[in-house]
């Protein structure tokens, strides 16, 4: 398996900035979708982070996750609210689980679908635990099955979408080609 990482520092920065911008855009799209509970999201904005698992080194990968949270919190004006806390905890849990699984298992043993489901469930569970402390108290236990179910469903949907996109995307092929020195 060839290295997935861009070759130069400026390429890494450019790719990380692009993926962050894509995360902002998808986050804005997701913000407009109706949701039953304010901090439960489908996870569209985590797709760029999912692709970054194989495209960026650890440092830029974490920077991407942080910028995604900070950026959307600033753009939606929620940085000082619990929404940002939920977003940070969920995004970091998801990012660490996806990256960790990819590092341990590799692309031969796990696909975008498995990574997405694991990331979504980790994110939702983390947010459920925070909800227990911050807003729901003891009654958070009644939310846990819903959080897990939504994580499973959204992870499956996004994972399949990621596989379909990955199979057809000229952009992704181009980025992989650049990193392999073919551009």
């Amino acid at each position: 398996m060839t290295s997935s990482m861009p070759r130069s520092a400026s390429e890494k920065r450019r790719l990380a900035a692009f993926l962050a911008a894509l995360a902002f855009f998808l986050s804005a799209v997701e913000y407009m979708l109706p949701r039953p509970v304010p901090f439960m999201r489908v996870g569209l904005a985590n797709l760029p982070i999912l692709f970054a698992v194989e495209l960026l080194p650890w440092g830029w990968y974490l920077a991407l996750a942080l910028v995604k949270v900070a950026g959307m919190s600033l753009l939606t004006g929620s940085l000082f609210s619990y929404v940002a806390v939920f977003s940070l905890a969920g995004t970091m849990a998801s990012a660490l689980v996806m990256r960790g699984l990819y590092a341990l298992a590799g692309p031969k043993a796990i696909s975008w679908v498995g990574l997405c489901v694991a990331g979504a469930v980790a994110s939702n569970l983390t947010q459920a635990l925070l909800a227990r402390v911050i807003v729901f108290g003891e009654s958070a236990r009644y939310m846990i099955p819903a959080f897990l179910g939504l994580g499973l469903v959204s992870g499956l949907v996004l994972g399949v979408f990621a596989e379909l996109f990955s199979a057809r995307s000229a952009w992704l092929a181009g980025v992989r080609g650049r990193r392999d020195g073919q551009a």
Binding site: E54, L101, I110, S111, G114, V117, P145, L148, L152, L164
Partner: protein
């Protein structure tokens, strides 16, 4: 991961394991939360109203009756009287209520406490002192 047009996507072993684990966790939590009995709680009633407190959180509660306030403590999953304005204070030695169906009372002050929620089928139905 699919790297371009090529072989159709197939679920890998770890994908299936993760999906099954997530589905299992979802099912188990749904059964545990929605299928099981409600957590135990102490329901205290007097002529002034009704109060409910979960037995899982320690606290001291004051409930007003015609003679004055009766103090109820909830500690370590059980509820018991710790003070009452009645003359003999018999209620203070009426023991702990901790299982569904248990009850204690301060009759002079009209304060009744019963436990609702989880019931242990392996518990005794009642004890006589």
């Amino acid at each position: 991961m699919n790297a371009g047009p090529g072989p159709r996507f197939r679920l890998k072993v770890l994908d299936a394991a993760i999906i099954l684990a997530a589905a299992g966790a979802f099912a188990a939590s749904a059964v545990a939360v929605y299928g099981g009995p409600a957590p135990s709680r102490a329901v205290i009633s007097s002529e002034r109203g009704e109060w409910t407190y979960p037995l899982g959180t320690d606290r001291v509660v004051s409930v007003d009756g015609p003679l004055g306030p009766t103090l109820v403590e909830i500690r370590d999953g059980a509820a018991f009287f710790i003070d009452s304005p009645c003359r003999n204070k018999t209620c203070l030695s009426s023991g702990h209520a901790e299982h569904a169906g248990d009850w204690i009372a301060c009759l002079p002050n009209g304060v009744f406490l019963r436990v609702e929620g989880e019931s242990g089928d392996d518990q005794l139905d009642a004890t006589v002192r």
